[in-house]
Amino acid sequence: MTATNYDIARGTALVTMMERIRAFEQVAELAATRDQLVLGAIHLSIGQEACAAGVMHALRRDDLILSTHRGHGHTLAKGADPTAMMRELLGRKGGSCGGKGGSMHIADFGVGMLGANGVVSANITIGAGAAHGIKLLGDDRIVVDIFGDGAINRGPFLEGLNWAQVFDLPVLFVCEDNEWSATTRTSDMTGGAGAAARAQSMGLYTVEVDGNDAEAVADIAQDLVSRIRDTRTPAFLHARTYRQGGHTYFDPATYRPQGEAETRTASDDPIARQREALLAAGLGVADLDRIRDAARAEMDAALQTAADTPFPSDDTVFADVQDIGSPEEVAY
């Protein structure tokens, strides 16, 4: 990229989204540790924001995404309301899922977010199926199906990629590779050359990208999304990033070599890199700090609103299980 053709508007949009994702997760972590308001486990994507911001920037609002237990960033970047998400983390009324799902099951169908998933790899076949449904319905939407590096060792990775390939489905699989499968290094658990090689072996059009370079992710995602929308065939993006924190917010990640996370964070933080790019393009530090501070203020306000919201009414536990034989009529 050169300064002359640099798209400052897009660059600013990317850093803004990354700051919002990071602020959301930092505030969510405080809500868990300082305020004891987050009830269950939350899995933070701090350090991985470029992948969410860059890929989602390439999508239309009516395109669909599916994500994982580490999905706050993807969901926000697809356009979900952070107040509804924060309410969901706190199990409150008006949460994205009415307080029934929590962090690992956030969905917002209104912005095309078909659900985070608590089971690693499970969203791969479901996302292929959403694309299958689009093909049957005959419209021009596409699906982005995001998962981590740990997911490539489960069966649905093979079955879902194969399915998309044999049925010519409009889906972009994104392996957001943060190097860690929960608390185990993925490379120790993975035979062969890994995600991209496996995707290529099934015939998928496959691209690798520096997943901490938001501009590069956005460029490649735009190309892949255009390709999928035109050809109605699947593609695979392997984005290499790094999980700066533990598996969950309460995991101190002591299994990592001393200093690894600190070194990687200092040298290769996606937000720091995007700020550098924008400084080089002429933005000032004050402009960038304003973006960061506004993101933090937005998420502090989201938490405050969520904390002031009541829990859902008790009887909602029986709603939306099923129509036929609903527990609203007969529990047993």
Binding site: L136, E159, Q322
Partner: protein
């Protein structure tokens, strides 16, 4: 009234549903050739390969992909070939399909019919013969259908396709060729048992092909002056608890008969529900398979079957 086979009745209903609603499609292994039991015969020719879709041998993907397609507004009929093979797609059904609507706060539906043929037929041994219907009754979010007759396989297939819930639809492999009269206008109510034989001396609750066995037993018993009320539950969730209670309050005696393993089976649920709510003249009786594995040799296989004699003997002991 139209004469149909058990398999043909479901095929007729599926074909009519696909003609009426372009969102209905089916997916599974070998469907293009008509399905492993011929349950899809002729559909590929009429509806084409997109709506009668051959799948790789990839059960997790068949189930998961059909679910994704259901969430965006199609209405898949999913063929698992054998209930045994559907276990390869257990996460997709139990953790994903059954839970999505609730977990996502009502934002999604999974209008799916998941066909899982069950039951012993001929020397198919431990991985092609199981009746696992009670597993799915235990999973909130699912509807469980176990039709026993051509009439029900026609009406229930229509009802299952029309439902917005995921319906686990378990046809019995031993009765595909059974013939019967089908009233294509007859309504079907979920959770309402069918009376296969009237009687006030003993209530026999059953489902799937064992309901046919129970009906034969009741015929034998009638010749001896014992009149059994044979109830075919037809759906296990929801199930006709009120109907069973009403019958048992008349007869005071209860036998539950099913092909699946008795231990932890749905028959235990029926018995427990009855004894919680009424008193009996005699201890209730559960008839099901021993907690043993389904073998290949026919004489060994027969050791596990619930027979006409077993049901009749239980009724005689209870009524005398």
């Amino acid at each position: 009234m139209v004469q149909m086979s058990y398999a043909g009745a479901a095929l007729a209903a599926l074909k009519e549903a696909m003609q009426a609603d372009p969102r209905v499609w089916c997916v599974g292994e070998d469907l293009g050739r008509g399905g492993v039991f011929g349950q899809y015969k002729g559909l590929r020719e009429e509806f084409g390969p997109d709506r009668v879709s051959d799948a790789p041998i990839s059960e997790a993907s068949i189930m998961g992909a059909a679910f994704g397609a259901a969430m965006v507004g199609t209405r898949p009929v999913v063929e698992m070939r054998f209930a045994d093979f559907a276990l390869c797609a257990t996460d997709e059904l139990i953790n994903q399909i059954a839970k999505a609507r609730f977990m996502f706060g009502g934002q999604s539906r999974a209008p799916m019919v998941i066909r899982k043929p069950i039951g012993m037929w001929r020397s198919s041994a431990a991985q092609h013969s199981q009746s696992l219907e009670n597993w799915y009754v235990h999973t909130p979010g699912l509807v469980v259908a176990v039709p026993a007759t051509p009439q029900d396989n026609y009406a229930m297939m229509h009802a299952a396709i029309a439902a917005d819930d995921p319906v686990v639809y378990m046809e019995h492999k031993n009765i595909w060729a059974n013939e019967g009269e089908v009233d294509t206008d007859a309504p079907f109510d979920w959770g309402r048992a069918a009376t296969r034989r009237e009687g006030d001396d003993v209530t026999i609750v059953s489902w799937s092909d064992t309901a046919n066995v129970a009906t034969r037993a009741a015929r034998t018993l009638a010749g001896e002056g014992i009149h059994a009320h044979v109830m075919d539950l037809r759906t296990l969730w929801p199930w006709d608890k009120d109907g069973v209670l009403a019958s048992v309050r008349r007869s005071g005696r209860l036998i539950v008969a099913h092909e699946s393993v008795a231990v932890g089976g749905f028959g235990a649920e029926v018995v427990a529900s009855v004894v919680e709510n009424t008193t009996l003249k005699a201890p209730p009786k559960r008839l099901g398979a021993p907690r043993a594995l389904i073998p290949y040799a026919p004489n060994l296989e027969d050791q596990l079957r619930v027979t006409v004699d077993m049901i009749a003997t239980a009724a005689r002991e209870m009524c005398t």
